[in-house]
Symmetry: C2
Subunit: 341 residues, 2 copies
């Protein structure tokens, strides 16, 4: 068992330490749309019955259109985390158990920590790389989060495909986690999965729609990989409400959701500009800032009951998510204004 | 990949074959309470945020009281199926990878088919046994569903504990699946888990409460097994709505739910008695009947748009679940009355 990673979203712990009622905290520690969309009606049968094939098929078709997969029917999974947990098994499946043992994993870093944690926990050697030039013949699995969390670094699809092509020569798989890709659909390689053969795309439902509690993600992958994941997760892996809600929302017009997120992001940018805080990167759903005293900034914000995300490995970084409205933007601005460094 | 098992709940497929609108079918093919309880209000944050530790802890404490675990905090999982999928890994974890390879699994059979499917798919040798006398020194994992699905066969807790004691001598684990145990709490061994050390109990939330679409189960197990399952499932495995709903319902009075189920079961018994159909066994949530022409009976009921569950391995058996109300009981009675054999 490996040590758990501290993720964003820990306002219970923060409130226990810094005081304040839970509902009075402003949680900017996640990359989740702070304005959850209105829930469509969930039919009683979605709660009552095990999700049937029809319900799953409807969700897959809606996701294929929404993520523009060029005909591949994405597999719904109970959160991307559930398939990250299965990557060691995917590595063995793709390479053959004996061959997998000698191969290494490359992860474009720094990034979402669960990839390295899960693979290292079962003994895989993980190389944290920064450029495609560091890829080697021993790499059987390569992981890139695009756009990246927390840096916002984005690879052009052509560069991703070039990497996949190179990996194909060495029977390597390329996982592209597009969890924060909804606002930059031009970055997605989901439409290339069908012809590429060794490309697997993870999509997250909850971040863009503001419904992370639902636990829903989708995998766009070649058929053998989809079948393997489906087999390993077993029947009825995703809840009925998650399937019916995602189907309804993906069939609707999502432009207003995107516009709302970008407006909130503009609000955050204005606050940071006003405070003179430098932006290092980000996506539509969060900003990564650089500050020489980021740890102190994090603590002072906690004292104002505003939670941001700091990083053990980068003491000058702070990730700041979107506030739900202009009043919350002002609260952040006021807290920053009162600070002295 | 192993062939999928045909489970109950396939009314979409049945309607495609026998006609009729989906909502006009009477689905008696499952063992789910046909009268789902009223949903408690789900707080907006349960949908919006990743489930935090507090939400999980509340669910665990409510489940500990509800299942009378004698202090063990059950681990919430996204359906019992999710941990059945992990049994091969549990076997390796408990026995050590090398030792596990030489050991066999014993399953009290016939029973829920997923146990054998999952274990055989990765190469474990599975013995289907009928009595504890068939247990052998090679058995590293033993599985008993109590009360059993579909036969309703019940083991007394003392007999289960005696088996666990015997298995302890050979470093064996005993899994007791109490998915249908809510109406017979006196059969449960959940309160013995703490002192037994090699006993693992699976509980299903959705069957008794009529909310199978939620995907929620609980594991009562010694701490190393709970930690291993938690580690393998990864963070946020269960949806926020599932956690908050189960907490609220388990903290409430469940006697009316039990009484409602038993009333529906009495209605089914009266129908079967009226039709002269012999009951072979069952639990509060279904009846197993024996009929020389069970296959034909199944088909005739399908023609009346009533779905029951037949079994490849037992051509004279039919499992019949509870109808939602007296009118549905009469519909079943009428359909049976019109048949001629």
């Amino acid at each position: 068992m490996s040590a758990p990673i501290v993720h964003g979203g820990g306002i219970t712990e923060a409130a226990a330490r810094y005081g304040g009622r839970l509902e009075d905290w402003l949680d900017l520690s996640t990359g989740i749309n702070p304005c959850p969309v209105a829930l469509p009606e969930v039919p009683a049968r979605a709660w009552h019955r095990l999700p049937d094939n029809q319900t799953v098929d409807d969700a897959r078709r809606a996701a294929a259109a929404h993520y523009r997969t060029n005909g591949v029917l994405p597999l719904p999974v109970p959160g991307t985390q559930s398939v990250i947990q299965l990557l060691p098994r995917l590595m063995q499946f793709h390479q053959g158990a004996g061959a997998a043992a000698g191969r290494r994993v490359a992860i474009f870093a720094p990034t979402y920590g669960e990839y390295a944690r899960v693979l290292q926990a079962v003994g895989f050697a993980v190389d944290r790389i920064e450029s495609a030039g560091e890829l080697a013949a021993e790499h059987g699995l390569v992981i890139v989060v695009n756009p990246n969390n927390p840096t916002g670094r984005a690879f052009a699809p052509a560069d991703i495909i070039a990497m996949a092509e190179r990996l194909k020569e060495q029977a390597g798989l390329l996982i592209v986690d597009e969890a924060f890709g909804d606002l930059e659909p031009e970055l997605s390689v989901a439409s290339h999965v069908r012809e590429q053969g060794n490309l697997v795309v993870f999509r997250s439902f909850g971040k863009f729609f503001g419904l992370a509690g639902l636990r829903l993600g989708f995998v766009v992958a070649p058929e053998p990989v989809l079948s393997a994941f489906a087999d390993w997760l077993g029947p009825w892996a995703v809840s009925g409400p998650a399937l019916t809600i995602s189907t309804a929302l993906m069939q609707g017009d999502t432009r207003a959701i995107a516009a709302g997120i970008l407006e909130r992001r503009a609000g955050l940018d204005a606050v940071l500009d006003g405070a003179g805080i430098a932006r290092l990167g980000g996506t539509g759903l969060f900003v990564l800032v650089e500050h020489q005293q980021a740890g102190l900034l994090h603590e002072r914000l906690c004292e104002a009951h505003i939670l941001t995300r700091k990083f053990d490995y980068a003491p000058t970084w702070l990730r700041i998510g979107l506030a739900p409205d202009a009043a919350a933007d002002r609260r952040l601005a006021d807290a920053l204004r009162r600070m002295e460094f």
